[in-house]
Amino acid sequence: MAIETQYQGIRDGAGPGVGDFIALMKPRVMSLVVFTALVGMMAAPGGLHPVLGFIALLCITVGAGASGALNMWYDADIDRHMARTAARPIPRGVVTAEEALMFGTVLSVTSVLTLGVLVNWVAGGLLALTIGFYIFIYTMWLKRRTPQNIVIGGAAGAFPPMIGWAAVTGGVSVESIVLFLIIFMWTPPHFWALALYRCRDYERVGVPMLPVVAGPDETRRQIVIYSILLIPVGISPYFIGLGGISYLVTSSVLGAVFLWLAFKVYRTREGREADRIAKQLFVFSIFYLFALFAVLLGEKIAEWLVALGAFKAIFA
């Protein structure tokens, strides 16, 4: 049965529910965005009133969700033909493209204006840049035109920690740029690992992902190259004073595992095993990013606890 007809039975004619609009926002992507933004906020020097911090996080989250909805609006035509995306609300027929466009636009404008007015305009401006970059540069321009779509378009996913940092400090710094670069360099091997085992989907809809255009072997080579480049970038927070010893150890060990998996993907090229290894790298890459940012957050919390004397009180 064709992918697009598998989901027609799910249309019940009763219109979209609240859950369908939440699904438009790509909640799993939102959770990574909000987490990296939170770490950017916590790692930044100085402080921010908790109410304003909460508002900033909420605006960043909603802005990310709005980007997801606008992406689903624009890509509705290809989403219905890909197994990975055919169950999304628009291909399923529960939300119309126009509803998704209106939903995404209202949320984008509201989140940017709210962040700018209530927190600061550097953060608001960066959020606007993020949304604009993701929609106009990645979704509408690069995604269907070049195999470098992920490399450049990945910048959109790298902005959240910078926005979080800017919410606290009112500016951009070397440290926030490093956080940006970690996600930027992580994006290509992460998405190309996915594209390797979803190659047929992208080929079907004519999206020029690297495995479709240059072939799986070249994609594997590029995954290794970007993984090699990612490792020093991932470790660099230690050398600029952003991360401590725990971060150095974690980023080094996980970086080595990342590289080992990348080489495994490079060597395993045939059959189901190749797909399995690619999926393994994809799943691990999510853990890698989460763990690096979690350790940064943990170290910051530990610093605060020490400063508060809580450790003394607990261990006295």
Binding site: A14, F21, V51, L52
Partner: protein
Amino acid sequence: MANNAGHEQQKKVEAERAKRQRLRSIAIAVGLGVLVVLFYAATIVHLGGNALNRPM
């Protein structure tokens, strides 16, 4: 009999449609309410504690 079954199905769909529309309206109202609260809270924060301490 087939007509009755179709009619029943139509009624169910209409009831479900009304329920989902109501829930969407509630969600929008909650969202707007949250926005109002956020603006109020942020204004208090920006004004600082002494906002309440002023000569009348």
